[in-house]
């Protein structure tokens, strides 16, 4: 089990009601973690998400390590 910090922004922050949380999880990848949290919160559909691991764009299928931070990134809308 890893301890992962998950931060939420924008629609995900509003939906979960959380800015961030510590998650104790058996998920090995960001994709598995997303599925686990989606099952818990029922995330809104919002197109193609990216993921950041430790404040860099990451790979959904790379292995997470204990202490990693993860951010799910909905499609952006700057400017």
């Amino acid at each position: 089990m890893n301890e992962i910090k998950v931060e939420y922004f924008a629609a995900l922050r509003e939906h979960t009601g959380l800015g961030a949380e510590q998650v104790r999880t058996a998920a090995r990848t960001a994709a598995e973690l997303f599925a686990e949290l989606d099952a818990r919160y029922g995330f809104p559909e919002m197109g193609r998400l990216k993921v950041a691991v430790n404040d860099e764009f990451g790979d959904w299928d790379s292995n997470l390590a204990d202490g990693d931070s993860v951010v799910f990134i909905p499609p952006v809308a700057g400017g």
Partner: protein, 153 residues
């Protein structure tokens, strides 16, 4: 001062511009995104920007470095507002100075285009009818009738 940054306060444009002055430069192009009173047919009253600032600053810096490398501009920077904005407010500013105008225009255009697609920042629109919503992205309309795909960035 970082070449890409977020600001919770209105920008001081004279200062932003001043950072780009350079005696080698004959051309300076800038772009500003302003809060419009409508979007996709709906009347907007105000909006909020929220950013994933740590990654956003890194990605913004990368974009500016790319623009300087690609177009040979001398200086470039970008500031994006976050927080609550009213109609007409400046949401994003980009500036680039270069020996000649071609490069200044190209860099400025490149930066705003890339920022809009790559920097993790989100916009919530509040409409005149009381409704509100997060704007997904400029290209979302294109995907409207394909099923949403998750987890594949």
């Amino acid at each position: 001062m970082s070449r890409f940054r977020f600001s919770r306060e209105p920008l001081r444009l004279e200062e932003c511009r001043g950072e780009l002055q350079d005696p080698l430069c004959g051309g300076y192009a800038s772009f500003e995104g302003w809060v419009r009173n409508h979007n996709e047919g709906r009347e907007v009253m105000r909006l909020e920007y929220e950013a994933y600032e740590t990654l956003g600053c890194k990605e913004g810096e990368r974009i500016i470095a790319e623009a300087m490398e690609k177009f040979g501009v001398a200086r470039a920077s970008c500031v994006h507002r976050i927080g609550s904005l009213e109609l007409g407010d400046l949401a994003v500013w980009v500036g680039a100075s270069a020996p000649h105008r071609d490069e200044a225009f190209a860099a400025c255009r490149y930066i705003i285009d890339e920022v809009k697609h790559r920097v993790p920042i989100w916009k919530k629109e509040h409409y005149v009818d009381g409704d509100s919503g997060w704007v997904n992205c400029e290209r979302c309309a294109e995907h409207a009738d394909t099923p949403p795909v998750r987890r594949t960035g």
